[in-house]
Symmetry: D4
Subunit: 250 residues, 8 copies
C-alpha cells in the first residue's frame, strides 16, 4: 500500500468520523513508520521473508549483544558480524542455541528454518588468507536465504586453477570475488563470465598493498566493465548486495 | 555449450577421421576464442542479444574512432564514451548515422532496432551538476537494451524532494545513485528501498571533496548495507553493472 | 575594561604619583596577563562565569592530573578529558569528590554549583558507537553551564527515526551532530533545521572510513550550507564551540 | 507554526467539512514542502526574513544563472557565488540591476532593501591573498542581513598588527578567520577572544601547503579549543554559519 | 682495468720518472673520471659498446637539445626522451639526420650502425593507450643494441588474447609489461613465464586509477613473485633495466 | 616441450588409437597443469632445477606450515618466509630437519643438495637495521641455487665505505640494494656499476620515512636509470627477481 | 634597547612631565611597533643592515607590485619573487631601475649599494632543471648581503663530479642543496662536510616524484644528521635561513 | 690539509723513494678515509672537538648498544638516542658510568669533560607533551658542547606567556621550536626574532594532526620566512643542526 493511499484512507476515516482528530494525528505521526520505520519494519520483514536483523558487534559490549540475541531471537533469525571469540563465549552462555563461526567471526541464531531461495551465489577467493572474509559472506548469504558456494585459492599467479572452476562460476546467479594484494582476480573473472560481480578487496598484504586500498582502487578501475565494489574486508556487505540481486527473483 | 563438451566433440571427430590432426590442432587453438575471445565473441554477442561494442574514446584519435564505427557499425550497435565535441564532429562526418549526446558525451550507432528488455533502471542524481554522469549511464543502459529513467536533483539538502519520487524508485529493478560532495544520497536511498543499488561518486565539489574521493569513500562506508560502488564519474560502468543484473531476467 | 583604558588609568596614576615608576613597570608587565594570561585569567573567568579549567589527560601522568585537581579544585570546577579508567582510579583516590564518567572518559570536580544558563544544546548521534564522543560533549557542555540533551541512533539508514525527533532538535539553540562512516547525518539535519550545527566526525568504521577522515571530509563538503566541523572524535571541542554560541546570550 | 500544529489544523478543517478529502490530500502532499521543501520554502523564507536564494554558479551555464536571477529576482534577493567575469557580463546584460563583485566573484540582486539585523560579524584575513575568500564571506553576510567588517593582513608573521585590532574583534558577535599556508591565525585569535570563531582555510601557498589541506588540518587541530572549520576557500559557508549564529538573536 | 691497478701503474710511472709529480697529480684528478666520470665515460662507453647518451628533454630548451645533438652526434648515438613535436622540429632543423618518433616522443641520431646484440626483449601492453610508453621503451632498447618486439592489447579483460602470444613471450630474454588502470597484466604474465619481468605502470585511467599509482602499487604487490617495477610511464627506465640484463650476455 | 607440441602429440595418439577419447579428454584437462598448474608444476620444477616451493607464513597456522613442510619436504626443498620464532618451534618439533634463521625469519628444508649455479648475487645494505631484509634475500637466493654475498652498512652518510667495496659489487652478476629512510644508496650504486640493480626499500625510519614509502618512491625516481624496485621489506621478491636473471645463464 | 628599558624610560618621562598622558599613551601604542611592527620595522631594518622588503608576487596584480617598488624603492632595496615575465614588463615600465632575472623569476631594486658581509653561501644543485630554484636563492642571498656561489649538476648519478667540487663547498659558511627526484644529494653532502646544510626539495620529476614530496620526505629522513629542510621549490626560504646564519657573524 | 695537498705530498714521497709503491698504494687507499672515513674520522673528530659518536638505539639489541658504549667509551663521549628503559638497564649494568635520561630516552657516557662552547641554544616547546622531544634535543646539544635552555609551554593558545620569555629567546644564538598539533609556534617566533630557527614538529595530537604531518607541513609553509624544519619528533636532528651553526664560531 502506497503512502498516498494510506493518507487518502486516513482522511476519509476522519471525515466519516471513524477517527477523531487526535487519533488521526497519532496515525499521521506513525504512518511513516509503517513505510520507513526501523524496529517494526525489521520484524515484519523477518516474518515475511526470513531476513534476520544484523548486528555489527565491533564496539558493542557482550552484554548488549547477548540482549539483542535474547530479545530478537524470539521473533526472527539473528546475525552478528565481527564477533570475537570472547564475545561469542559470553553470548553463547546467555543464549544457548547461538552458533559461533570462528573463521567468519559470526554469531547466528536461526528461528525455525531458513527459507531457501533458488539461485546460488559463488564466492571466489584469490588466496587462503582471504577465507575469513569469504566465510563472513557465505554465512550472511545463508542467513538471508541464498545458498552460497566458496571456490578458494584460484588467484592470478596460477590462473589455470581458475579455468578449471569456470563451470561452477557459470552456474551461479551472482559472483562475489574476494582478493587482496593487487586484486587482479576481479578483472580476470569479469572478463570471463557475464554475471553480476561484487568485488571485495581484502587487507591481505603489506607495504604497497596499503591495507587493502591497492586492491580497492584496482577493482574500481578494473578493465572488465561492470564490476562493482564494496568496502575493504566487507564480506557482509558483498553478501547483502548479492542477496539483493538474488531476491529480485520470486 | 561447455568447454569440455567442445573438447569431447572435437576429439571424437579426430578419432572418427572427420578432422585430421592439423585441423584439430587449429580448432584447439581457436576453441578458447569461441569461449573467451574478444573480437569474435563480441560480434556473436551483438547478433545474439543486441549488446554493442563499447569504445573508450579518451586517448584515441578521431580517425581511430571513426574507423571503429565504420567497421563495427555493419554488424552491431556501437557505443563510444568520453567523446569530445570535436571528435564527434569528425566521426559524424565520416559515419552519417552516428548520434552525438553532448551532455553525456556519447556517440551511438544503432544497427536495426534495440531489443528492449523488461525491467526499468532508475538513475537518481543528487544535483544538477551530476547530470552528465547520469546521462552517460542512461545512454549506456539503453544501448544495452534496458530502459532507464532519470530522477534528478533530489539531494540530501532538501530530502523531501526525494520522498516525493520514492514511488518511481520503487518501480525500478535496479537503482543507480549519482552523487558528488559527501555522497550521502546513496545511504539515504539504501535505507528506504530494497532493490540493488549501484552508487557512482562524482567529482563535483572542491577542497575536501577531494575530486570525488570523499563521495567514493563515503559510499563505500555507507551505513545502508548492500550498496555497491563503481569508479568516480563512471556512469558507463554503473550502467554495465545494472544491465548485468537486469539481464539475469529472461 | 579595555587595554587602552587600563593603560590610561595606569599612566594617570603614575603622573599623579599614586604609582611610582617601578610599580608602574610591574603593572605594565602584569597587565597583559590580566587581559591574556593563562593561570590567572582562568581563575578569574571561573569565578565570573563558572567555566572550568580543562585538562587534556592523554600524555599526562596520573600524578600530574591528581595535582591539577587538588590545586584547581579549590578555586573552580575542573574538567579532564581522555581519562583512562586507571588514571581515574588514581585521581579519585587522591581527590575524593572527583567523578569519573567511563563512557565519556571524563573526570569532573564541581566547586559549589554549576550556574546554569538558558538555552539547550542538542547532541545527535548516528549510531550507538558514536556515544562516547557524544558523552564527552555532553559532560563538557554541562561543566560549561549549558544543559545538553542526547538524541542517539538516528542515522541515515533509518531516517524516519530522525523525523520523530525533529521537535526536540528544533527546541535547541545549537545542534551537535556526531557521526562516523560517511557522516551523512550532518547534511540531512542541516537541510531540515535553521540552527547552528557543529559536526563531529568519529573514527567509527573501517577500511574506506579512513579512521574518520571520510566523515570529516564529507561533513566539510556537506551540501547543506553552514555546517561547521571540528576534529575527529573531538566531542570536547564541539561542546566548546556550542557553548561559545550559547554564551553569547546573557 | 510547527508541523504538528499544521496537521492538527488541517484535520480539523477536513472534519468540519471546510476541506474535502482530495483538497486535504493535496495539502498533506504540500505540507512537508512548507516545512522542508526547496523552492517554495526559499521564497517564503525570503519574504519572511530577507534571506536570498543562493546559486553555486560553478558548473552552471550563463543562461541558467540568468534565468534564475530573472525568475527569483521578482520575489527575493538573489546571491550567486563563484561567478566568472564572463558569466557576470552575460547575466548583467539579461538582468540590468544585478551587481557583480569581481574580488569576491559574487553576483547579487537585492529585492527592496536588506533588513539589517543587529550584531556585527568580523572577517579577519592573514594575508592579502586571502581577500577574495573574505570578500565572498562579506557579501554573503550582508545578503543574509548581517553587517560584516573585514580586518585584513594581520597574519602571524607580524602579530603586533593583530593586537592593534583586537578592539574591533571584541565588538563582533562572531569572528570569521580566513588564512592559508599554516593557518596559525585561527589559533592565535582563538586564544585571545571569547566569541565563536569560524575558520576558513584557503588554498594560498604551494608545495607543503597542500592546496589548503595544511591550513585545514591545522585549524582542525588548533590548540585553541572551540574553533570550528569549513571547507577550503569556502567563504560562503563560513558566512552561512556565522549568520546562523547571529540569527539566533531576535 | 680496476682502480687499484690504475693507481699501481701510475705510482710505478712516477717512481720510474715517466711521470713527473704534477702530471701524476693531474692523472690522479682525472682517474676517477675514467672510472666514474660523466661526460668522458659516456663517450668511451659509446665507442666501446654502442651505448648512446640519453637526454631527458622535458625542462630543457630546444636550443640546448639541438646543441647536445650537434656536439654528441659526432662521437656516438644520441637518444632524447619526452620530446614534444615543437622541440623535434627545432632540433631536426638544426641537425638534419635526427629522427623523431611522434608516438614514443623520442629523438634519435645514430652514429654509424647499431651493434645488435643477441637476445630479444618483449614489450607487452594491456591496451592501446599504453602504446606511447611501450614505444619509448622499444626505441630505447634498440638504441642500446637490443632488439625488441611489441605485443599490444593483450589485457586481462580478454585474457585469451594473451595466451595466443605466449609463444612470443617465451622466446624473449626479458619481458617488459606496460599496463595502466589496475595493472593486473604483470601478475598474470608473471604466473605464466619464467623470464625476468620489468613492469611499467602507466597513467592511463581516471579517478581511482590515481594517475598510475594504483597500477604501480598493484604491480609492487603482485602475487606473482619476482616482478620488478619502475616509475609510472617510465618506458625508458624499463628498457634500461631490460638492456642491463641482456648486456650480461657477451 | 611446448604446449602446441604436447597437443599435437596427444591428437596423434588419439588418432592412432593409443588414447581413447575419455583418456585424451583427461589428458587435455591435465595438460595445462603440466605447463601451468600449481602443485604438480612445482614438484616437476623442483626435481628439474632445485627450486623449492615457497610458503608465505604470515596468516597461516603453525599446523598448516608444518603440514606443508612434511608433505613437500619429501619431494623438494622447502622455503617459508615471515616465520615467527613461535611458529618455527612448532614446525621444527614436527619436522626435525627444518632450519630456522631468526634474523631473516625463514624456515628451510633442503632435499638432497642445492644445485649451485655460477654467478653471484651481491646484497648491499645501507644500515645494520636493513639486515633482516637482506638476510631474507640471501636465504632465498641460496634456496634457489644462487650464491649471495652480503655487504652491509655502506650507506650514503659515509660513502667512502661503499667505495672500498666496489670491487666486490663489480664481481656480482646482479646487485640487490636494501635501504630505508631516503633510500639514496640505490641511486649512488646505480651511478657506479653497470649490472642490473634490484632495489628493496625498507620500513626503517619514522615520521617522514612514511613506513618505507619515502624510500620506495625515492628508488622509483632514482636519477640513476635502470634501477628496478620491489615492495617494501620484500627481500624474498628481490631475490626471486635476481635469481630469474641469474637463471638466464645455463 | 629592550622593551622593558623602553617602558621604564617612557614612564620616567611621564612622571617628569616630559610626556603628558595622551602622548605617553600614543607612545605605548607605538612601542610594540618599534619592536615588532611590520612596516616601520622593515624600513628601519633596511636602513640599518641593508635588508630589503620581500614581495611574494604570486597572487598580486602588476599594479600592486609596481606600487610597492615605487614606494619602498625610495627607502630600501626591494626584492620580489615568483614574478612572471609579463608582470616584470609592467613593473619595469613603471619603475625604470628595476632588474628582472628571468631564470630565478625575481625583480630587484637596489637602493645605493649592497653592504656585503663576509662569509660565502654555496648553492649546489643536483641537475640543470633545479637551476631556477637555485637562482632564486642566489639573488635572495645577494639582496640580503651574502655572496653566493652556485655549483650545478653534481647529482648522485655521477657522484665524482661532486668530489671535484668539495673544495668549493668546504670554503662556504652555509651550504644550500637543491635537488628533485629522490633528493639524495643532501644526504651525500651531509656526510662529507661539517657546515650547516639547508636542503630545498624541487618539483623536478614525475610519477613517484610526487611533485617534490619524495625529495622533501627523503631530505627530512636523511641518514646524514643535521640537514634541515624548507618547502618544495622554496629557494627564497632557503636563502633566508642561510643568511640568518651568516648574519650571526658581525 | 686539503686532499690535493695530501696527494701532492704522497707523490713527492714516492718519487723521492721515501715511500715504495705498495706503501703509497696503501696510503692512497687510506687517504679517503682520512678525509671521509667513518670509524677513524669519528674518533679523530671526538679527540679534536669533543663530539661524541651517536647511536640510534631503535632496532639494535641491548648487547650491541652495550658493546658500542664499552668500546667507544674508551676514546670519546658516547650518546645513544631512542633508548627504552629496559635497554638502559642492560647497558648500565654492563657499563657502570653510563647515564640514562628517562624523559629524553637518551644514554650518555662522558669521556673526561665536555668542552663547552660559547653561544646558547634555546629550545622552546608549545606544550608539556612536547617535552620528551625537547629533552632529546637538550641532551644532544650538551653532548656536542653547546649549552641549551628549555622554555616550555608557551604555545599559541596563550601567547602572552611567550612574550614574557622573549628576552631569553633573544639571548640565544639559535632557537629550536618544538610543537605538535598545528605547529603555529614556529611561525609566531619566526615573526618576532632574527635568529636562525630550527623547527621540530611532534606527533602530539590526534585525528587531523596526522601523527605530526600537519605540524610538519605547517612549519614548512610558515609565513615567517627562514624557518627550517627537521623530521617529526627528531629532537636529535634539530640539535645537530643547531650545533652545526654554533660550531661555526671559534
Amino acid at each position: 500500500m502506497d503512502m498516498l493511499d494510506s493518507l487518502r484512507e486516513l482522511l476519509a476515516g476522519v471525515k466519516a468520523g471513524d477517527l477523531d482528530v487526535e487519533a488521526g494525528l497519532a496515525r499521521l505521526r506513525d504512518l511513516p513508520y509503517l513505510e520507513l520505520g526501523h524496529t517494526k519494519i525489521d520484524l515484519h520483514r523477518s516474518l515475511r521473508n526470513g531476513f534476520p536483523e544484523v548486528v555489527y558487534a565491533a564496539g558493542k559490549t557482550p552484554e548488549q549483544v547477548a540482549e539483542i540475541f535474547t530479545r530478537m531471537g524470539e521473533h526472527s533469525h539473528v546475525l552478528a558480524t565481527r564477533v570475537s571469540a570472547e564475545m561469542a563465549c559470553h553470548v553463547q552462555a546467555a543464549c544457548p542455541g547461538v552458533v559461533y563461526n570462528p573463521l567468519g567471526r559470526t554469531l547466528t541464531s536461526v528461528k525455525g528454518e531458513i527459507a531457501w531461495r533458488e539461485g546460488e551465489i559463488a564466492i571466489v577467493t584469490a588466496g587462503t588468507s582471504d577465507l575469513p572474509v569469504a566465510e563472513e559472506a557465505r554465512v550472511t548469504c545463508e542467513m538471508f536465504g541464498s545458498r552460497a558456494v566458496v571456490v578458494s585459492d584460484v588467484g592470478v599467479a596460477g590462473i589455470h586453477r581458475l579455468f578449471d572452476r569456470l563451470h561452477t562460476l557459470r552456474q551461479a546467479r551472482v559472483i562475489i570475488v574476494v582478493a587482496g594484494m593487487e586484486g587482479a582476480l576481479a578483472s580476470v573473472i569479469g572478463g570471463l563470465v557475464p554475471q553480476p560481480i561484487v568485488a571485495v578487496p581484502t587487507s591481505v598484504g603489506y607495504g604497497a598493498a596499503l591495507s587493502g586500498f591497492t586492491a580497492l582502487c584496482g577493482m574500481l578501475t578494473s578493465c572488465a566493465s561492470g564490476v562493482t565494489v564494496v568496502n575493504i574486508d566487507n564480506g557482509f556487505g558483498a553478501a547483502c548486495a548479492a542477496c539483493k540481486i538474488n531476491n529480485l527473483f520470486p
